[in-house]
Symmetry: C2
Subunit: 343 residues, 2 copies
C-alpha cells in the first residue's frame, strides 16, 4: 500500500538487524483490518490524532507509518527462517515460525504490517524479532499456523468477557472475529453458543466451528434465537460486526445485567441510548488484540487439535492475486479467510 | 404531579393494607430524577415503550403510572409510623423508619413516588410496607436518615465499579449522585478521589464529603488534575453528569484500561466514538439504583457516623414550597439537597 492504494511492486530485500531473522513467508491471512485500513485509514489517522489529544506519550506505542511511503501489510503470517542477524541464539535456518506482529529495534516498536520499515506477510521476505518468534510444532501445517493471530483475537475477547461455565453466548457477526470467538467459546465448553449473520456461508462456518445454533437476523432476531434454545442463563453478547448502530442494537436486545463485548471495530462515531444501559445495568467492554500468552495459547490449541480451523480457510492467492482477494472479501458470502501464499 | 405539572393539592388520606403501615412524613429529599420526570417524563415513557420492544415481561417491574392521574413524588423519605394495617407484627406507632421506595400488594410492585396508588414523601401521609421498612437507629436525626436513599445510590455505583484499594477515582459531576459516590469512596478508603464540577459550591461540598482534589473543568481538565495529584494508579471514572456527550468526553480522557461507571442518567440518544474504547480497551458499566443490603448499609453508615452528610443538606421547604424548590434546584450553585418537611 502507498497513498492509500494497493500496489503490487518490487521492493528491496529486507536486512535483519541484531536479534532479528530474515524469513520467507509461507502463508499470511488477509485481515478485515487491512481492508479497513485502505478504505478508512486516512480518517482513522485524523481521528486518532484528534482523540489522542491530551493523552500522555506512550513509549510502547508502535512507530507511526507515513502513508505516502510503502506499507507492506499482512500481520497473520507463518514463515520459514532463511538467515539470522547478529546475536540470534534460538532460531536456525529452516525453522517454521509464527510471531506476534510486532518488531522492535533501537527506534522502538513497529507494527508489522502497519509499518514503513517492517514488511508484513504480503511480501515474499520479512524480518521477525527472534524474541517474538514461536516455532510451529512439528506436523502442524503452516497454513493452519497462520491462523494463530486471528484465533488469538477470539481467545483474548473471550478472556476479557469473564464468561464462565453456565453462561450463554450470543455472537453477532460471523466474520473472522466472530468465528474466532466461537472457536474459543467452544474450546472453553461454553454453551449454548448462538451465532447470527445474514450470510448462509458464514452461518455454516460458525456451526462447523462450534456454534450450537445459528440464525439469520433477517428471519429471527438473534436474541429470540437464544431465547428459543436457552433464555435463562446469564448472557454475554459479542458484537463482532463493527458498523454504526450495532452497539445500540446489542443493547436493545440485551437482557438485564448483560455484558456486551465490542470486538467489531466501528470507525465512525456511533449513536446509542444510555437509558437502555442504565435501565438494565448493562456493561460494555471494548477489546483489542491479545496478550503474548494468548497468542502462544492459540498456536498450541491449533497444534493440539483442540480446534479444527480448516473450514475457515476458503481461498489462497499469490502476491499478484491480493488486489482481487480484497475485492472478493467484500462479499461476505464468498469467503471467510483467504491466505496469501507468496511462493 | 398530574399531566406533567407540579400541583399542590389536597388528596384523600391513604389507607394501609395488610402488612402496611400508615406513616407521617418527617423529611423527604428532592431528587434530580423528580425534576427529570417533570421535564422529560413524557419522552421517557415513549422511549421506554420503544426500547422495551421484544423484552420478555418482568413480573417484578413496578406497575406503570398514568400521568393524567395524581402522582405524589418523593422517594427519599424518613417517616413516623402512625397506624398499622392488618397483620403488622414488627412496627409500632411512633417508630421512625426509612424504606426502600417500593410498595407491594396483590397487584404487584409499585415505585413509591412514581405511582398513582402509593404517595411518595412529598405528601404529609404515606403508606410503607412493613417488610421494606427499617427502623432508624435511636439518636439519628430523621433529616440525615432521609439521605439513606441517595447515599445508597453511591454505595451501589461504587460496588458495581469493582474499585479496590490502590485504585484512584475521578468523579465527574458533583450533584447528589457524584457526592454520594465520593462519600462511599471515602468510606472505603479509596484515594486519591478527584472531583470535577463547574460549580464552586458543589466543589466545596465534594471536598467536605471526602474528595482529595476538586477541579473546575473550565480551568483544568479533570483528568489533568488527576495526573497532577497521582497519574499512576489504575483509574475508575464515575460519570455523574448525565447529559449527551459526557460518556464520549469520559472516554476521551480515560487512560488505557479505565473502567467508566455511568451513574448520570442521560435521557437523550448520545454519540460516542467506539474506536476510542477499542484502542484503549475501556469498559463502560451502567448502573441504576441499589440492592436492599446496600440501602440498609447506607443507613448504618450514616447512623454510625462513618460519614457526615450534614453539609449535603442545604435547604428545607414545606409542601407549599416544593414548586419553588424545583426552580431553585435548577441552579447548581444554589443548593445540593433540599428536604421537604411537610409539617
Amino acid at each position: 500500500m502507498r497513498d492509500w492504494e494497493l500496489r503490487v511492486d518490487e521492493i528491496p530485500d529486507p536486512v535483519p538487524g541484531p536479534g532479528q531473522a530474515l524469513t520467507k513467508v509461507i502463508a499470511c491471512g488477509i485481515c478485515g483490518s487491512d481492508l479497513h485500513l485502505l478504505r478508512h485509514g486516512r480518517q482513522q489517522l485524523e481521528l486518532a490524532a484528534e482523540l489522542d489529544d491530551g493523552q500522555p506519550p506512550d513509549p510502547l506505542r508502535p512507530v507511526a507509518f507515513v502513508p505516502e511511503r510503502d506499507v507492506v501489510m499482512g500481520h497473520e503470517f507463518c514463515c520459514e527462517v532463511v538467515e539470522l542477524g547478529p546475536g540470534c541464539a534460538n532460531l536456525a535456518a529452516g525453522d517454521i515460525v509464527v510471531s506476534l506482529p510486532v518488531a522492535f529495534d533501537a527506534e522502538g516498536l513497529h507494527g508489522v504490517g502497519f509499518s514503513n520499515r517492517y514488511s508484513g506477510g504480503y511480501a515474499e521476505l520479512m524480518v521477525v524479532n527472534e524474541l517474538m518468534a514461536i516455532k510451529v510444532p512439528t506436523g502442524l501445517s503452516p497454513r493452519l499456523a497462520a491462523l494463530t493471530e486471528p484465533l488469538a483475537v477470539g481467545v483474548h475477547a473471550v478472556a476479557k468477557s469473564g464468561i464462565q461455565s453456565g453462561d450463554a453466548a450470543l455472537v453477532i457477526g460471523l466474520g473472522p472475529v466472530g468465528l474466532a470467538v466461537i472457536a474459543e467459546l467452544r474450546m472453553r465448553g461454553i454453551g449454548p453458543i448462538v451465532g447470527a449473520d445474514f450470510s448462509p456461508k458464514r452461518r455454516d462456518l460458525a456451526a462447523r466451528l462450534g456454534a450450537d445454533e445459528v440464525v439469520d437476523p433477517a428471519v429471527e432476531r438473534a436474541v429470540d434465537a437464544w431465547r428459543r434454545v436457552d433464555g435463562t442463563r446469564p448472557l454475554v453478547i459479542f458484537e463482532a460486526v463493527g458498523v454504526p448502530g450495532m452497539i445500540d442494537q446489542a443493547m436493545r436486545m440485551a437482557p438485564k445485567g448483560t455484558r456486551i463485548l465490542v470486538v467489531g471495530a466501528c470507525m465512525q462515531p456511533d449513536t446509542f441510548h444510555p437509558m437502555i444501559g442504565i435501565g438494565r445495568e448493562l456493561s460494555i467492554q471494548f477489546v483489542l488484540g491479545y496478550e503474548p500468552h494468548e497468542f502462544g495459547g492459540a498456536l498450541t490449541a491449533i497444534a493440539d487439535g483442540r480446534v479444527d480451523l480448516d473450514p475457515w480457510l476458503t481461498g489462497s492467492v499469490d502476491v499478484e492475486g491480493i488486489p482481487q482477494a480484497f475485492v472478493d472479501l467484500d462479499h461476505p458470502d464468498a469467503h471467510a479467510k483467504i491466505l496469501v501464499e507468496p511462493t
